[in-house]
């Protein structure tokens, strides 16, 4: 069974439960969005699924094999992680950054093979014309596209062996304008047929509803609900999870849920008492 899964993860840090009994599954060919308020444990869950953190209880596995049983470089060919912040203060060309991605393949593939993978990933993410640029001087949107190209290159296999691969994206769109958000997530959807499954932490619920096949809503380290976007984005669970007042409507055109802030609270004079 091809999937990247977390099974009943529980993790405490400094006496605080960060994750409590959380299970999650990503299968090849789908985009799964992980949503929830700040501090809900989304990034921690992602770090468990990347093998970076080991949970106190429960286990993460890739295609049925526990992550712990993988050698680090074997795992690196099967899943790639786009962290929130991967900037550098050193003069690296985009081509240098892309070449790094092939490090886990240095014993498995020829240099030509690796270059082909880098080129293909760069083309898929639309960063080919940026290859000779200084990475530090790219705009935020360009930089994030290069990062996406980098993680794609890491799991790119020009002779696909039929093995599933996974992308873990931690808030890939948070610093981007709406145009770049859309372009980035379109690239992500385009690579799904290569046997890639994607788990993305997203803050924008409408963006998540537009690009994800399934969603998980996490709050205070617990899984609140999961399923198709229409099932997860309901006023009740969303408002209680975020502690917000949001209107959830259904877009007549696409049938997708549409989240709108409920607007200003009615004015209450501070002199009118404590009710």
């Amino acid at each position: 069974m091809s999937c990247l899964s977390a099974d009943k993860l529980t993790l405490a840090r400094a006496n605080r439960r960060v994750l409590q009994d959380v299970s999650l599954r990503v299968t090849p060919g789908e985009v799964v969005a992980l949503v929830g308020p700040n501090g809900a444990g989304k990034s921690t869950l992602l770090r468990c699924l990347s093998g970076e953190l080991t949970a106190d209880a429960g286990c993460c596995s890739l295609d049925g094999t526990a992550l712990r049983a993988f050698k680090a470089h074997d795992l690196a060919r099967r899943r790639a992680v786009l962290p929130q912040d991967a900037d550098t203060r050193f003069p690296l060309m985009v081509a240098d950054v892309m070449a790094m991605a092939r490090a886990p393949w240095r014993r498995q593939a020829t240099p030509q093979h690796n270059q082909r993978a880098v080129r293909a990933a760069a083309a898929a993410a639309g960063v080919v014309e940026l290859m000779a640029r200084d990475f530090r001087r790219l705009s935020g949107g360009e930089r994030q596209r290069v990062q996406l190209a980098r993680v794609l290159a890491q799991i790119w296999d020009t002779h696909w062996d039929g093995q599933s691969r996974y992308l873990l994206l931690d808030e890939p769109t948070s610093s981007l304008d709406v145009g770049h958000q859309q372009r980035l997530l379109r690239v992500v959807r385009e690579v799904l047929p290569m046997g890639i499954g994607v788990l993305a932490v997203l803050h924008d619920l409408n963006l998540a509803a537009a690009f994800a096949d399934r969603m998980y809503l996490l709050a205070a380290g617990r899984l609140v609900t999961q399923g198709a976007p229409t099932a997860v984005i309901q006023a009740g669970p969303i408002n209680s999870a975020y502690g917000a007042e949001l209107d959830v409507r259904t877009d007549a055109h696409s049938g997708r849920p549409l989240v709108l802030p409920a607007g200003r609270a009615p004015y209450q004079s501070p002199l009118s008492g404590s009710s």
Partner: protein, 352 residues
């Protein structure tokens, strides 16, 4: 998908080919050594230098005592300058990569002064503690001091998996101050002869090293320096962050430990021979990076070559500028390196 792959242009060409860079720097290093052999208080003709070298290589004593200047004084001194310059530069490059901070430098973050304290301890305390008197005691103590300082600074600068730049530099300042105070205290308790050898290398100098001392420290510097040159690929991955290196499948903790260990031992051995020579570890990697970029596979060996050449040039200048007296080399490296570094920074800034 395959059509887009085929139509994609080739990956951008490198700025300079590695062969050209390393070949050019090797030639620069060789040239600096040759110039260094000829210059000094005693001027010699090429014929004399050649005769002395041939005689030395064939194992016979130089007939002319003038020629002994070449093999007994200038040659070991030049080789020491090459080794120390290389080691300082490659350690600087490796630390900057590991800490993801272009300001890391063996001198700046306290490694050199830690090594200095270790060496001074042996010089001064050697009289009272007989186990500190072996031939290996000085380089080992210096290495240990350097290593200890590196580890302390590294641990202090680490927060939540990332290196905090400000804490790192502050920790370096603190280590420098503490080691400086310790060195001062030992200086206070030293006798005349100890004081002389102490002052001698606190100023930083490659003078006065014979073959014996050179052969003692050379293996440490050679092995650690070469090993550091091999860390290019993992250090590249560190440039985007420790977590990126981890996600790429590198054994991050082991790489950190090995790099810190190698830098500590290499710089410790270098400092034990020459005292504290600042600026080489900071400036040389910067200069190399401005020319060829930050790919550590090339940056590390190129820094080593340029560092060696740079220190030889500095030492030659130190010997000849106020001949027959000598300038402290530490002052010269700063005088040469500082303005050059500023110039490159400004030039790079206006180009943008």
């Amino acid at each position: 998908m395959s059509s887009t792959v085929l139509s994609a242009p080739d990956v951008a060409p490198r700025r300079l080919t590695p062969l050209l860079v390393l070949g050019g720097l090797t030639m620069a290093l060789a040239a600096s050594v040759v110039v260094g052999l000829f210059s000094g208080a005693v001027s010699l003709t090429p014929g004399q230098v050649g005769t002395a070298l041939v005689a030395w290589l064939s194992g016979s004593e130089a007939s002319d005592p003038m020629l002994a200047v070449i093999t007994a004084i200038r040659l070991p001194r030049l080789l020491l300058a090459v080794l120390v310059g290389s080691v300082l530069a490659v350690a600087g490059a490796a630390m900057q990569g590991l800490f993801r901070n272009p300001l890391a430098d063996p001198g700046l973050i306290g490694v050199s002064s830690g090594a200095g304290l270790g060496a001074v301890s042996v010089i001064v305390l050697g009289n009272w503690l007989p186990f500190l008197n072996g031939p290996l005691a000085l380089p080992l103590a210096a290495a240990l001091g350097g290593l200890l300082a590196t580890i302390i600074v590294y641990r202090l600068g680490q927060s939540a998996g990332a290196t905090d730049v400000a804490t790192l530099l502050l920790a370096g300042i603190a280590i420098n101050a503490i080691a400086g105070a310790g060195t001062g205290l030992l200086t206070y308790f030293s006798n005349d002869s100890e004081l002389r050898s102490l002052t001698f290398w606190l100023m930083g100098s490659v003078a006065g090293s014979g073959w014996q001392q050179l052969l003692l420290a050379a293996p440490f510097m050679l092995v650690c320096g070469l090993a550091l040159c091999l860390l290019g690929r993992p250090l590249n991955a560190f440039l985007l962050g420790e977590d990126v290196a981890l996600h790429l499948g590198y054994p991050v903790e082991r790489i950190k430990a090995v790099t810190v260990l190698l830098c500590g031992v290499a710089v410790g051995a270098a400092v034990s021979m020459t005292g504290v020579i600042g600026f080489v570890g900071l400036v040389v990697p910067h200069v190399v990076r401005l020319i060829i970029g930050a790919d550590h596979r090339l940056l590390l060996p190129a820094s080593a070559l340029l560092g060696g050449a740079g220190l030889v040039v500095a030492d030659t200048a130190a010997r000849t500028l106020v001949s027959p007296a000598e300038l402290p080399i530490g002052i010269l490296t700063t005088l040469l390196g500082g303005p050059f570094f500023l110039f490159l920074l400004l030039q790079n800034r206006y180009r943008q």
